[in-house]
């Protein structure tokens, strides 16, 4: 085990108020093992009775060194790491990373691959919101919602397993397209999901939206104004619940999102309830996008034909010397990217997920950095929770929808 360094009094003195030293307020440690912190988040709470005076988040309990590890892998192999970053949104992480690589090397993506990417990314958004809905309802003591949400989530994971062979860590999107085309049962499976899901969302709403117990726990709790939300750098549903219409799918479209017709759900209250409503409406909009993408799903290849970056199909390797060389080069050495740096941002279920790639001209990235939405959204937690009860803090943490893998990576 690593040595634990003693922290001196002077180093931590500034964290708490003078009242804490006089014993007027109480210091309480919440986490890292706590059912309501949604992972290994540690909060140092200063309490006046039940009221939160100050809340200091302590992150890093899940620091995995993903960014550093990616530097020692070729561009194709590093993608495996991105799945495990924000583990509610593996396909969205893949998408951000492959878009960055494609921008770096200037790679084209066929129409069909783009449409399938949109369908799967939106399915992932719904599954992420389902986990959020189930767990944050559990936090405010609505037990049954959790079971219903995970029922539908299984249906989405079955679709992922159908296309990629894995339930969660799919690594299905690759630079230049997809790993392979979707199997024949894909469209049918997505249609079945589209058919049942609207009614299921109605069911969740019937359980929560007008439930007086749920309203008591969420209305007017942890509210933030639009101006403050922008100043704190919030993105995603947390920002849109405060009335700022900012969605990268609309304002900086990627992967063909400009072709689809969808609304950006907005609320102005900025409290826990508004965030709940925004996410519920977002699920409905995601269904709309999936339906449109499925309706005009074009035929054709799912991988770019640029053999310098995309491996040739197996069938070609047996007959073409050139294909064999490309295959060998790509899987031993990888492809080299031109010198330079790119930043690509997508709308993850939690907000703006950005990928920064710096290339020194070699086959491995010189530096990879992710601008993760949970990390930036977490910093507002002390502001949101001040003056509320400890029980409300639990609802607030749930409503910001943090994923610790996304924060610490």
């Amino acid at each position: 085990m690593t040595d634990i360094k003693e922290v001196s009094y002077e180093e931590i003195r500034h964290l708490v108020s003078d009242r804490a030293l006089e014993g007027e307020t109480m210091l309480l440690n919440m986490g890292p093992q706590h059912p309501s912190t949604h992972g290994v988040l540690r909060l140092l709470l200063e309490l006046d009775g039940e009221k939160v005076v100050n809340c200091i988040p302590d992150v890093g309990f899940l620091h995995t060194g993903i960014e550093k590890n990616m530097e020692s892998k070729t561009y194709q192999k590093a993608e495996v790491m991105t799945d495990r970053m924000d583990y509610m949104n593996p396909l969205g992480n893949n998408l951000t990373y492959v878009l960055a690589v494609e921008k770096l090397v200037g790679l084209d993506v066929p129409e069909r691959a783009q449409a399938i990417r949109v369908i799967l990314a939106e399915l992932q958004r719904i599954s992420s919101h389902l986990v959020w809905l189930g767990t944050s309802a559990l936090d405010v003591a609505a037990m049954s919602v959790f079971l219903y949400c995970f029922r539908e989530r299984e249906q989405i994971l079955n679709i992922f397993e159908l296309v990629s062979g894995q339930r969660m860590m799919t690594t299905y999107f690759r630079p230049g397209g997809l790993w392979r085309d979707v199997p024949s049962g894909f469209e049918q499976a997505v249609r079945e999901f589209l058919e049942v899901m609207p009614h299921r969302i109605d069911e969740y709403e019937a359980l929560l939206t007008k439930n007086p117990l749920f309203l008591d726990r969420t209305l007017g709790i942890g509210s933030i104004s639009a101006e403050d939300a922008l100043n704190w750098g919030l993105t995603g549903a947390t920002l849109r619940a405060s009335g700022v219409s900012y969605d990268l799918r609309r304002f900086a479209p990627y992967s063909g999102y400009e072709q689809y017709d969808f609304e950006i759900p907005l609320r102005t209250e900025g409290d826990v309830y508004a965030r709940y409503i925004v996410r519920i409406l977002e699920m409905r909009q995601s269904l709309r996008i999936i339906e449109q993408a499925l309706r005009k799903l074009p035929a054709g290849p799912v991988r770019s034909s640029n053999r310098k970056f995309v491996p040739p199909p197996r069938s070609e390797i047996g007959t073409s010397m050139e294909a064999l060389i490309h295959h060998f080069k790509l899987w031993t050495e990888g492809f080299s990217a031109p010198q330079g740096s790119v930043y690509v941002a997508t709308e993850s279920p939690r907000g703006e997920l950005g990928c920064f790639l710096e290339s020194d001209g070699g086959p491995k990235p010189y530096r990879v950095h992710f601008r993760t939405p949970s990390f930036d959204n977490l910093q507002v937690l002390p502001k949101l929770s001040k003056g509320f009860l400890v029980a409300d803090l639990v609802a607030i943490i749930g409503s910001v929808d943090i994923v610790l893998g996304d924060i610490d990576r």
Binding site: V40, L62, H63, T64, G65, K68, N69, R84, L157, M168
Partner: protein, 160 residues
Amino acid sequence: MGVEQKLGEMGVVTARLEDVVNWGRTNAMWPMLFGLACCAIEMMSAQAANYDMSRFGMELMRPSPRQSDLMIVAGRVSRKMAPVLRRLYEQMPDPKWVIAMGDCASSGGVFNNYAVVQGVDEIVPVDVYVSGCPPRPEALIHGVVTLHEKVRKEKIKDWA
């Protein structure tokens, strides 16, 4: 144990203490509600309606280590988390068991680097390893059933 057949008309049954205690331990083994990373989501799936771990007497997740018998290490353990994990283990009352769920907890998985403990068995004794990244809920349930089999074979002289 087939108690019904042995009971007969007498209303009395004889059994070895070992068997009865081990049987009791397996059918109400409370896991600790302790998730670390990706595997925790699959652990939640295993608890939810489709997989329903309560079929094996495992539905009651205790958030407090002092009330739990089984620690499922679901996810990668960072160097910062390692002392916390060890302390949680020490807070659990005996008898206690550990399942290392997933590749990261078992061996470090894809993360061979400065930040991740290369297998949770460096910190706590592990009874069952479940492979997969992340393991399917079925795999976790198989791991739990394997642990139950192991507990049923425990000997009274080893209880200490």
